[in-house]
Symmetry: D2
Subunit: 315 residues, 4 copies
């Protein structure tokens, strides 16, 4: 039970805004909720907020900021105090589309976050009104038709320090981690709910800071991850990591590089953590070396590439 309700919306930066928008609208199948100041706001049919993704043109790719909704006004206050105590706060901001005041801060690695509580719930216009009323929006069968934003994976120079910040200042729970033979932490899977992962930190191979590994969007079946693979092939999108199953968190995935250069995942699966005292699962270097769930190897660039890209590190 934590003070955080969930991550999102996410601002994603792209040097190719038209192509990136086309990717999310036509291929991921998201709806355009609106445009404002040059940014485009998109949503999955299952997102309860007005939008879960904000696309912004930028000289380079990468993460703009990650929204973070607090569980309650009191939870918001507690988290702001905890962040300020660590000297990472940047103050309040009140102009974000569709939500109330947001508290801006950076994690130790420099990724920008915006913490808020008040938010608009989505009201579907007539042509997107669903038949069943427990669904925020009509299901639109275009492209992958992703349901909603699912999780964020950022790279960090010091995974342990950022993971501890997420636990202590942000009240996240730690479900899984990888500890290498030299004692360093290669990855940490954190969650504010019973979902197996919501915020992930993995080691930045190039020792840069503030970089993005990937954004993941949810589909309701793993069949839809396979179908996403088929869609991307015929649409000419680069599949970096073909549909398969992770050992860590046991999620099903397909990873592509969207036209702006960011790594995007279509995901399903994983498991729910009902144990309130879930002992963190720590994977050893040898276990990580075994590869993915079925023993297949991890694609090399998956360990090195991030956005903004480092010169010479091609995906």
């Amino acid at each position: 039970m934590t003070d955080i309700a969930h991550l999102g919306p996410i601002e994603l930066l792209t040097p190719k805004p038209a192509e990136t928008l086309d990717f999310f609208h036509q291929l991921m199948g998201m709806e355009i909720e609106g445009e404002e100041n040059g940014s485009v706001y998109l949503r999955g049919w299952g997102d309860y907020q007005r939008y879960s993704l904000k696309l912004t043109e930028s000289p380079s790719s990468g993460l703009g900021y990650a929204g973070l909704r607090a569980w309650s006004p009191e939870a918001l206050e507690r988290r702001v105090a905890a962040i300020e105590a660590r000297g990472l706060g940047e103050g309040w901001y009140d102009g974000a589309r569709g939500r109330g005041p947001s508290y801006r801060f950076r994690d130790p690695d420099g990724h920008r976050f915006e913490l808020y509580y008040e938010v608009d719930r989505y009201e579907a216009p007539e042509h997107l009104r669903p038949v069943v009323r427990n669904q925020p929006q009509r299901y639109i069968p275009r492209g992958c038709a992703v349901s909603r934003f699912d999780h964020l994976n950022v790279l960090a120079n010091d995974v342990r320090a950022n993971r501890e910040f997420a636990q202590e200042a942000l009240d996240y729970r730690l479900y899984e981690r990888i500890e290498l033979d030299d004692g360093s932490e290669a990855g940490a899977w954190l969650s504010a709910t019973i979902a197996a992962h919501e915020l992930i930190y993995t080691q930045d191979h190039h020792r840069r800071s503030g970089r993005l590994h990937h954004l993941a969007f949810w589909v309701d079946t793993r069949e839809e991850c396979l179908r996403a693979g088929d869609i991307f092939v015929d649409a000419g999108i680069e599949i970096e990591f073909a549909p398969s199953r992770h050992a860590v968190a046991r999620g099903f995935f397909v990873y592509v590089i969207e036209p702006g250069g960011n790594r995007i995942e279509v995901t399903n699966g994983g498991y729910l953590v009902y144990d309130p005292d879930h002992p963190t699962v720590t994977w050893t270097q040898a276990e990580r070396g075994r590869g993915q769930y079925w023993g297949n190897p991890t694609v090399e660039t998956f360990h090195t590439y991030g956005t903004p890209p480092v010169e010479g590190d091609e995906h």
Copy 2:
């Protein structure tokens, strides 16, 4: 091993051509191959011919004609002779889009067929060219994205007579049938290949002739039949028979009524008949009364409704 390669294309009649076209293009996800003399020609991404469906405006719904491709020029000759010997032939015709001379005939119940051998193979234009060259066309993720025409079910006043005609004059094989306690035949599942059914005759409840029960289009997984159900709900299309599994032929299905009134199926599953001497499976009235594969009841209108509709028999 028969003289028939396969059924198709199918001409479908509709009193609401614009809405019916929208259904097949937007919701079934078929491509428009062309328009000619007021008819629209459509194809699934997996159809090897230029089109598998021809939509034609008409005062009423129902079947225009069913195309039938012969296995070879010699097979075509043999079948024409067999049809002529039964006095059901109507002569040659040479104006069909994308194929050579067709021999027109009617089955004993009056359904129109066009038998041919020469045909154009589909050549995808640049924007529909697939990445893998064993696929006729790029996969377009719009709506159900059906792959190809699969099978045709027509109603008949005398199932046995029509089934025997299909076996003897058309060289079809009979894989399954239903025989009622009074000795009458309620349904017959015929195929020219190892697929479990391609041409189906079932009893016309209203004793009319020449009517259509349904056209079925193939998807590669039964998950896509479930997803088709979801798509149709939010698109406001009437689902007559929710996704489930047949006992006969063991196929997975969802049946809807397209805006023009015709019953359309999205299907997957079934089985392949590798036995050259496959003994026909005969179901009794009691077995049919057990319902579908999982024992669930058959929707009432499924036994009565056909197109063109009979006054007072609503779907």
Copy 3:
């Protein structure tokens, strides 16, 4: 964020203990964790506790008790105080297999619950040790191979009173409910987490008390619900409600009657509630009359049958 971690284990009563055990072991694919005092303890491969199901012989079918794990020792104290304040407590008990002291109570309708915090985590024996260490147990491909207990649906004479008790005394959240035209409440879907439902109250058609509607066990894909249907057909198990999709909670299901007479569900799907202020979805009588997700009708006995059964109400 609630004081309850999750429901379970569940004690299920059966007049045919050998057949019921065979059903859960061979067909549901659960492991026998142990036997004690004539009861048998079973688990799914994904259950983190030692067992999630206790089978006990009894003259009739129905619910023995529902376990309820508190989030923490403090949460346990708070809930006990709230229950005692309502006069529904029955005192502490310390003999349950694999867990610490339990507080026994009944909901207003008379269903027995056991609330506890301390519990043994499952330690797989050698032959059941998994390859990936974030999985509690090896996956055993026998029968449906259900992963874990998912949710409990009990019948109540007064749904509203029991639902309010669950919210106020047990700290559950209410995600969906059905309100009939006469103002009465026909069903309430409650959860202690982001899962769409964990505890469900629906109207007892026969105005009895303390009865069970069904227990649901989770599988990771809706394909496995379809496969469960196939398994049950060939195993001669009565399928009451063939695989389909609910409108309420949008879950995928198949319902069977186990040999002891209790209704059991194999389930997947639904949605996650990330909104901390999720507005309860209230369905009207007309909306409920629309049927299931795809518009298909609800099986009649689903509204009437419960265990222990009422004379003359056959499933």
Copy 4:
């Protein structure tokens, strides 16, 4: 339209008969139809013949023989004459379990075949009798529960010569092939029906003869291929090629090495060839280099390993 009905049964050789039997019975989920002269005969629930697999102890792994059922007595005679004309016949044999006289021959690469027409159709004993009568046997939910034998891939020193033999002497149709830049043929996919492949020849990397690449067994959904991957991981079976999708023939797969050393596939998908004049799809060396359907690389040993194994070529 060919003279061959289908491939099978297959005799598989194993140096570890008990472990191999356990693999096929417990993990593949096949039934033991009988034992005779030290060999064990197995079947999938969907096989119409009594058995599709014969396991025989041998000093090494590999193919014993491949059965081949002719379409008719006349077809059998025609094929025997064509084989004899090429000097590859070895004469008639009349002792095979459950079938009539078989004509033994070898393909140019030395693989043994047994061609026959007369065969026993499977009659399920009481405990394996299915509920739906169009299914040869009850579905038993044990392990992968494969339905039936699907296809055979053998290695050849000279793919072209063997492929031409299959077309000319055996009457197979050629649907796809790979032609390298030097003009040599790296693989050929042949079929006697509309199924995309039944008999495959691929280049023997070690220039040996008579070796086996793999046997494939069918499951009805690609979800079951994924599940097979999960089953094999926890059963400690070596997965050589994790679940994915081929570009050639577009089939879904998972490949494992059974305890006796033979490569076994669990498969679904592919496509049906309705075109009687299907133009052979020829893949270039560059296209083959693109990898599998989603662009993922082919596992190295997949190109080199076969049985019996060559010293130093480990899987």
